[in-house]
């Protein structure tokens, strides 16, 4: 039943492997960001507090950007149209994309995680496999958010224009830079509707306090609900904006 989705996922993996610049971006850029955060953060305790949030932020950012641009290219180059004329369902396409990009997003998570723990020496209490699952839930939402947003972009540049609207507000309001409780009340209210808020809360609890997935079940549930919503939106809007 999922054979078409696997075919699409393996095609995406093949494409990314052959695109060396993107591979370098996936690996080098987050390491650079992590290094800057590591070097510029004045004390160790603050770094312990910021590093997990960076992990959640990066999977959201790169999942969104990579999928948004790739999907927009599929639309503008006509490959999505060709795929839609073939015996594949919307769910095949969305789940194929999910599997393909999630693999890279999780590989990226692992690289940054080991870099943070072993090079930047941040405090780490939880279990790695549980952190990977938690990151995967954020990643599913990010990939489908990118797919959905690409519907409204006419070219790759326009995907970048969505970053200040879709991603940046989440950075500032999710508790990455300062606690959500210190924000004005109306911003705290907005923060409740942003997935990264729950991503940052959950991963901090896991990495700093050693919580397992059950301990952050509220965050897991809300992130899963966001992810499911974005999967539905991505599937429903798939036909819009194909070329021609």
């Amino acid at each position: 039943m999922l054979s078409n989705a696997f075919s699409i996922a393996s095609r995406i993996i093949n494409q990314l492997i052959r695109d060396r610049r993107t591979i370098m971006l996936i690996i080098i850029a987050p390491l650079l960001i992590a290094s800057i955060v590591g070097v510029s953060t004045p004390d160790k305790r603050m770094l312990d507090y910021t590093a997990p949030a960076i992990l959640a932020m990066l999977i959201l950012f790169f999942g969104f950007i990579l999928t948004g641009i790739s999907f927009q290219r599929e639309r503008s180059q006509g490959t999505l149209e060709r795929l839609m004329a073939a015996p594949v369902s919307r769910l095949d396409i969305v789940s194929g994309y999910l599997m393909g990009f999630l693999l890279f997003a999780l590989a990226q998570t692992l690289i940054i995680f080991f870099y943070m723990v072993y090079v930047l020496d941040i405090n780490f209490q939880g279990e790695l496999w549980q952190i990977i699952i938690f990151q995967a839930i954020i990643g599913i939402g990010a990939v489908c958010l990118g797919t959905f947003t690409s519907t409204f972009a006419r070219n790759e540049f326009q995907i970048m224009q969505f970053v200040p609207i879709v991603i940046l507000p989440q950075f500032f309001l999710c508790g990455l830079l300062w606690p959500v409780s210190e924000l004005p009340e109306y911003l705290q209210w907005i923060a409740k509707f942003l997935p990264l808020t729950y991503g940052v809360d959950g991963i901090r609890a896991m990495m700093l306090e050693g919580e397992n997935l059950l301990g952050v079940i509220k965050e897991v549930g809300i992130l899963a609900a966001f992810a499911a919503g974005f999967v539905v939106l991505a599937s429903l809007t798939l036909r819009r904006g194909t070329s021609g």
């Binding site: 093949n14 494409q15 695109d19 149209e81 073939a86 015996p87 369902s89 021609g244």
Partner: protein, 258 residues
């Protein structure tokens, strides 16, 4: 109770279209069009840019939903569930530029249901040879010329041996010798019983088709064999271009009379 969507022959027609209408917003792109395409023929959709050729093909492959009317392809309403019956070569190259010739054709072979690895590989090899790109099979699409990309695109459309093939301007940008080899191949397909529907705005393509329609503003202004259409202007040695202009004038006169 709704009738199940079972395959059936529409009196040996590969495609039957009845009172088809499609609009982009308020603009009517296909206007109350009816058409029957016999199985085993090469059928040309001719018309200037914007006449509705691409929209008609996209309707026939199920990419667009009509505002009104019926479409039957090999007896079925075109959906993704019966898409294996059809091959589609879009106007754009529509290929994955980072992947090689082989990877592109192999991907579409898998998507169109060629699951057995050995059978698929042998079919993909056969198609690569057919489109004369064996020496380039490991080359990424981004390093190919426009004509070569066009050949890969054809390969992706025919890899699953569809009985019904839709080709949207397949010969654009091809060298004359490649164009001849494309047409030789199309003729071999129709001799084998396949039906080919080709859109084009070049009269050279039109002359190769067994049957043609001239499209203008989403309406059929003429239908017939190339010989029948050429004889319509009533002058010796008339070309298909003369015939097209003749039918345009006639349709304009008809509109003015209304």
């Amino acid at each position: 109770m709704e009738k199940p969507d079972m395959p059936e022959r529409d009196n040996d027609n590969a495609v039957a279209v009845e009172k088809l209408t499609f609009r982009y917003g308020k603009l009517s792109v296909i206007d109350d069009l009816s058409l029957e395409i016999p199985a085993g023929t090469s059928f040309g959709l001719l018309g200037p840019n914007g006449s509705g050729k691409t929209t008609l093909i996209r309707l026939l492959v199920g990419l667009l939903k009509p505002a009104a009317g019926n479409i039957r392809c090999l007896g079925r309403t075109p959906t993704s569930a019966n898409a294996r019956q059809r091959g589609y070569m879009p106007q754009l190259h529509s290929l994955y530029t980072e992947l090689t010739v082989r990877q592109n054709i192999d991907f579409f072979a898998r998507i169109y249901g060629l699951r057995d690895r050995e059978q698929r590989q042998s079919r993909v090899d056969e198609v690569i040879k057919l489109v004369d790109l064996w020496d380039r099979r490991k080359t990424q699409i981004m390093h190919l010329s426009g004509g070569m990309k066009q050949r890969v695109s054809l390969g992706c459309a025919i890899v699953h041996n569809p009985p019904l093939l839709f080709l949207d301007e397949p010969t654009v940008g091809l060298d004359p010798d490649v164009r001849v080899s494309f047409w030789d191949y199309f003729e071999s397909l129709t001799q084998g019983g396949s039906t080919i529907i080709i859109s084009s705005h070049t009269m050279d393509d039109a002359s190769h088709c067994q049957k043609l329609i001239f499209l203008r503003q989403g309406k059929i202004i003429a239908l017939g064999t190339p010989e029948e259409l050429r004889s319509a202007p009533g002058k010796a040695n008339a070309t298909l271009e003369d015939a097209f202009l003749h039918f345009i004038r006639r349709s304009e006169e008809g509109q003015n009379a209304e």
